[in-house]
């Protein structure tokens, strides 16, 4: 196995995209990564800035959609019984809709 890429992942490394290596000196692959770093190489972060942004947005989408789903009954009640939707709910639902990309 020749090390080509090393990415920091959790408490260990992902090597060549397919090997999850734990931080243990009993692990032969970890010893190789340590040697690779000692040669002057640097592991890349687990996520690039773009990946962090994409992950953050994905989580925001899920959270926002869940909030909308959980407050849909206000809208249904208003449609069926004319009971007003509380202002704070209306405001929060608008914010949730805006957050979804």
């Amino acid at each position: 196995m020749e090390i080509q890429t090393v990415k920091i992942e959790n408490d260990g490394f992902r090597v060549n995209g397919s090997m999850c290596v734990p931080p243990s000196l009993d692990n032969a692959d970890y010893v190789k990564v340590v040697a690779w770093i000692a040669e002057g190489n640097t592991p890349t972060p687990e996520f690039t800035d773009a990946e962090i942004a994409a992950n953050t947005q994905a989580e925001l989408n899920v959270t926002s959609q869940a909030y909308l789903a959980s407050t849909d009954w206000y809208i249904t009640r208003h449609a069926e019984t004319a009971v007003a939707v509380p202002d704070e709910i209306t405001t929060a639902r608008a914010a949730a809709r805006a957050a979804i990309i």
Partner: protein
């Protein structure tokens, strides 16, 4: 029956046992796992090899570095009578300009705790005998070296290869210096040198003599370079290491299943989408949060030490399923905490739509998807 007759019979029986012991020592005499090269979990061919550590046939690696030569390593069906397989190296790119730092070899690694019967480092240290069958495309001389990783001592001997299968028997002197540590790390490397530059050959090679390791003394100057021609091949099988000065018959009675189980201490395939008759399932999953499923798998054999999870990236290659729902991921991962040597808790992330505490059937999707764990020395 008289007492004298009984005693006579008993004495005769003991003589028979002693004679038989020399011919074929009973029990687990072979310290080598997979010496007959029958288990090859990783595949049957690797090409373009020259550096690093490359496993194909379980427990035996090919590696080294710096040479311009290249090798194809295969599990070959050629073997001496009684052997169905051998490890074959074939030179595909020659290197006739040997650099000083060149070194290439087949290596077998033994845990220190499996070497304690040699009593190395004590006044009652045992000799040991390494035997194996070899064959080449032409005559060649290589070096078989024991390298004590705990004490940085070594002992090498040369052996000859011909165009026919022949059994090599090398007895190594006992070493009263430097005990093997009784643990799960490397005690000794058994190194079959097939190519070496002057860094390893320029000193004084003393056959069958333990000494503090000196790089220049490790390989015989008579060592053939495997890379001298693209015609060069080497087959090896029937590798056996046993205590004592006698090479007994190869320990054939181990079944494939036994040998596989011994190998799985070091490397185990959890699931392989590309292997016929293999289960594509890799355990049970549990929904942890909306974008994560944790999966659990009990190993077939306890691992030697902290293991590497091998999982190639495959688009939608890893799936969590219920009767009506499939969630697909491109890879899997794990964190070293919460692991044991008996099982793994992995995760699938970068997914969505998971309900907390939901239960999933985890399975591969496609021939390229593959999961294995590696705890090799």
């Amino acid at each position: 029956m008289s007492k004298a007759r009984e005693l006579s019979d008993y004495t005769g029986l003991q003589a028979d046992i002693t004679a038989g012991d020399t011919a074929a020592r009973a029990g687990r005499k072979n310290l080598i796992i997979n010496g007959a090269m029958n288990v090859a979990q990783r595949g049957t061919s690797l090409t373009g090899l020259y550096n690093g550590t490359n496993y194909l046939i379980d427990r035996f690696s090919f590696g080294g570095g710096t040479t311009d030569g290249r090798v194809t390593m295969t599990q070959d069906s050629d073997g001496p009578a009684g052997f169905a397989n051998s490890l074959k190296l074939a030179c595909t790119t020659a290197d006739t300009s040997i650099a000083a730092a060149d070194e290439n070899y087949i290596i077998y690694r033994v845990e220190g705790q499996d070497l304690q019967q040699l009593k190395k480092g004590t006044s009652s240290a045992e000799s040991m005998t390494l035997s194996f069958y070899v064959k080449g495309n032409a005559a060649a001389t290589y070096t078989a070296e024991f390298y004590d990783a705990d004490n940085n001592r070594h002992n090498g001997q040369t052996f000859n290869v011909t165009t026919s299968w022949n059994r090599v028997t090398l007895t190594y002197a006992p070493d009263t210096t430097g005990a093997y540590t009784d643990d799960n790390t490397i005690g000794v490397y058994i190194i079959f040198w097939i190519h070496a530059g002057s860094n390893s050959t320029s000193g004084t090679f003393t056959s069958n003599s333990w000494a503090a390791a000196v790089t220049a003394n490790r390989v015989s100057a008579s060592n053939t370079s495997f890379f001298d021609s693209t015609a060069r091949t080497l087959n090896i099988t029937g590798v056996q290491l046993e205590v004592g000065s006698v090479a007994t018959d190869f320990e054939h009675p181990r079944s494939y299943g036994e040998e596989l189980h011994l190998c799985q201490r070091y490397y185990e395939i959890i699931a392989d989408g590309g292997r016929a008759n293999d289960s594509p399932y890799f355990g049970v999953g549990q929904g942890v949060k909306s974008d994560q499923i944790n999966w659990f798998y009990d190993f077939k054999a306890e691992k030697r030490a902290a293991f590497t999870l091998i999982v190639p990236t495959v688009t939608n290659g890893y799936q969590a399923k219920t009767h009506t729902t499939t969630i697909s991921g491109n890879s899997l991962g794990f964190t070293s905490v919460h692991q044991s040597l008996h099982s793994i808790m992995g995760y699938m992330t970068n997914i969505s739509g998971v309900t907390e505490q939901s239960c999933w059937q985890m399975q591969l999707n496609g021939a390229a998807a593959h999961i294995a764990v590696d705890a090799e020395l």
